[in-house]
């Protein structure tokens, strides 16, 4: 049985050759998508490491916090170094608490509000640090296929113009240009797929860490509120006796 080999007329079809044969628009798109892919993976690696570190830090802090250690001592050991997560929330709350008592604040309600505000602020700052750059992953995930498609459309357009110029419709003439154009879509998908998967995974991880920190903030707020009430009632008892 006779067999016919379909080969391009004197051109290799490796990915490198396809890239060099492409027009400048397609080349630009491909370079951009390669950069986006590199940045996406940098973010993925960075965030994964950061979340792992954060999880370890939260576990260690919870262990220390619930070990029955005095809050004053904990605050003194933590305020001297740089803290993350629950540690920074705890330090922010304790700083506000201390400042209010040192200045001799009278209203217990005002103190409660200020401590909550300080903790919310610290939590928001932590969350921003956790979720920062995840937006880039989201936008790459949604826009990279379109960027790749744009490169493909431009590439196919130019290749069809070239085919019209060559005045043959031989598949060997048509195929290389289209293969080269499709490389752009392939690169777009190559950048977009990990970005989408990583965005979903990382944002759910961040949400979990945020919920954990929020829970701690609420719990600590309750503890502080109890403390404030105890201090207020003891002060009122002292005033009654006085």
């Amino acid at each position: 049985m006779e067999s016919v080999a379909l080969t391009a007329p004197g051109g290799e079809l490796s990915i490198w050759a396809l890239f060099w044969q492409a027009g400048w628009v397609v080349k630009l798109v491909m370079i951009g998508l390669l950069g986006a892919s590199i940045w996406t993976w940098a973010i993925i690696v960075d965030k994964t490491l950061a979340y792992a570190r954060m999880r370890v830090a939260l576990n260690r802090f919870e262990q220390v916090f619930w070990s029955g250690q005095s809050l004053e001592e904990l605050y003194r050991s933590l305020s001297e170094r740089k803290t993350t997560g629950m540690g920074s929330i705890f330090v922010a709350a304790m700083r506000e608490w201390k400042k209010s008592f040192e200045k001799g604040a009278r209203s217990p309600l005002g103190l409660q509000t200020r401590v909550d505000k300080a903790m919310d602020l610290a939590l928001a700052r932590e969350m921003e640090r956790l979720e920062g750059k995840l937006g880039f992953l989201a936008s790459i995930g949604s826009s990279a296929p379109f960027i790749g498609l744009f490169g493909t459309v431009v590439g196919i357009m130019t290749s069809f113009q070239a085919i019209a110029g060559s005045k043959t419709t031989n598949l060997a003439v048509v195929a290389p240009g289209i293969a080269e154009a499709l490389l752009a879509t392939a690169m777009g998908l190559l950048a977009a797929i990990p970005a989408v998967i990583a965005y979903n995974k990382l944002s759910s991880d961040a949400a979990k860490l945020g919920a954990r920190m929020e829970g701690f903030a609420d719990e600590f707020s309750a503890i502080l509120s109890r403390q404030i009430d105890e201090k207020v009632s003891s002060r009122q008892r002292a005033e009654e006796y006085a």
């Binding site: 006779e2 080999a5 079809l13 993976w41 940098a42 690696v45 960075d46 965030k47």
Partner: protein
């Protein structure tokens, strides 16, 4: 962030390097030239491939046509026959003319006998009669004058003459005059005349045979004229052996002509839809076509079409397709190649 970026860049570089070296030019497809058409035509070569020979002759190892009487070669002649020009039409049968020509033969035969007995009176008659041919008469007086030198050679001739008869020297000039009319063109050379005059007696004897030869030639010419109304001009020498009227080995349908026929049949073929197992619906039909491309008779089912109702329906649909699409448009000059066609219908590719 720095570690993440560093890891990402190295990963991409490694992937690209791997891609450049391993994802090079993909292997070209091995495209097999597969005919996906479910209708297949079998050229009946055992029937169409016929060697030229004689239909009545007994079968030999090599078919050969009847040997021809004529041996002169005619350039580029293709058909075996006795004609002078190569004609496609068959030779007219020569059974009738023959007896007539044979009957004409005997009368001239007695005619030469009385001539040797004729006297000089007849010479005069002949000489008088000769003016009628007109144009070639002028050289004739010359031989007469040349006859006069003959007496010098007489002693030699006389020896022969004495043995037979005395009148012979006298009659010697007579045969000279007789053969001359047909030889008028060659008679112009005087040297020849002398040589002929030297041997008058043998001439007389040869005269009767000569006449027969002429007659034979005339008869042959007549025969040739009749044969020229048909038949080829190629000569055959071998012994006749069984074969067809012409060699048809070279006439085969080309692939595209076969495709055309296949397409014409396939267009009309309504495959029985919803068949249970299409693999069993293979049908082979054989049919004859006339030179106009119409189907002769009813297509005959060679294989398939028996068993279940579905198979029978498939066979009937194939038969209908053949009848419905006739007449077929095929090259007329290759009629012998497509006069007999076997078509395979195989719907198993279509499901």
């Amino acid at each position: 962030m720095k570690t993440g970026l560093a890891i990402s860049v190295t990963m991409h570089a490694a992937l690209l390097g791997f891609g450049i070296f391993s994802l090079s030019t993909p292997r070209a497809f091995e495209v097999a030239d597969v005919e996906a058409l479910p209708v297949d035509i079998v050229p009946v070569e055992s029937i169409t491939q016929v060697q030229e020979g004689d239909r009545q002759a007994p079968a030999e190892r090599r078919p050969a046509p009847r040997p021809t009487l004529r041996t002169d070669e005619v350039e580029n002649a293709q058909k075996v026959g006795e004609a002078e020009t190569d004609l496609k039409s068959p030779p007219t049968p020569d059974a009738k003319p023959k007896p007539v020509e044979r009957a004409a033969e005997p009368p001239p035969a007695p005619a030469p006998r009385p001539q040797p007995v004729e006297t000089a009176a007849e010479e005069a008659q002949v000489a008088e009669a000769e003016p009628v041919p007109a144009t070639e008469r002028q050289p004739e007086p010359q031989p007469r004058q040349e006859v006069t030198p003959d007496p010098t050679d007489k002693p030699m001739v006389a020896e022969n003459a004495e043995a037979e008869s005395v009148t012979l020297p006298r009659t010697a000039p007579v045969p000279q005059a007789r053969p001359q009319p047909p030889r008028a063109q060659t008679a112009k050379a005087p040297e020849r005349r002398q040589a002929e005059a030297e041997t008058p007696a043998p001439r007389q004897q040869a005269r009767g045979e000569k006449k027969d030869d002429e007659l034979f030639d005339q008869v042959a010419a007549l025969l040739n004229k009749e044969r020229a109304s048909g038949g080829g001009a190629r000569r055959s020498t071998g012994e006749a052996a069984l074969g067809g009227t012409r060699t048809t080995a070279g006439e085969q349908l080309t692939q595209s002509e076969m495709d055309a026929l296949r397409g014409q049949i396939q267009r009309c073929w309504n495959v029985p839809a919803g068949a249970i197992d299409a693999a069993n619906l293979k049908v082979s039909l054989r049919f004859r076509l006339d030179p106009s491309g119409a189907v002769e008779g009813n297509p005959e089912i060679i294989s398939g079409g028996d068993g279940s109702g579905v198979a029978r329906a498939a066979a009937e649909s194939a038969r209908r397709a053949i009848l419905q699409c006739a007449p077929y448009n095929l090259p007329t000059e290759k009629y012998s190649a497509w006069a007999d066609v076997i078509v395979h219908f195989d719907p198993s590719d279509m499901f």
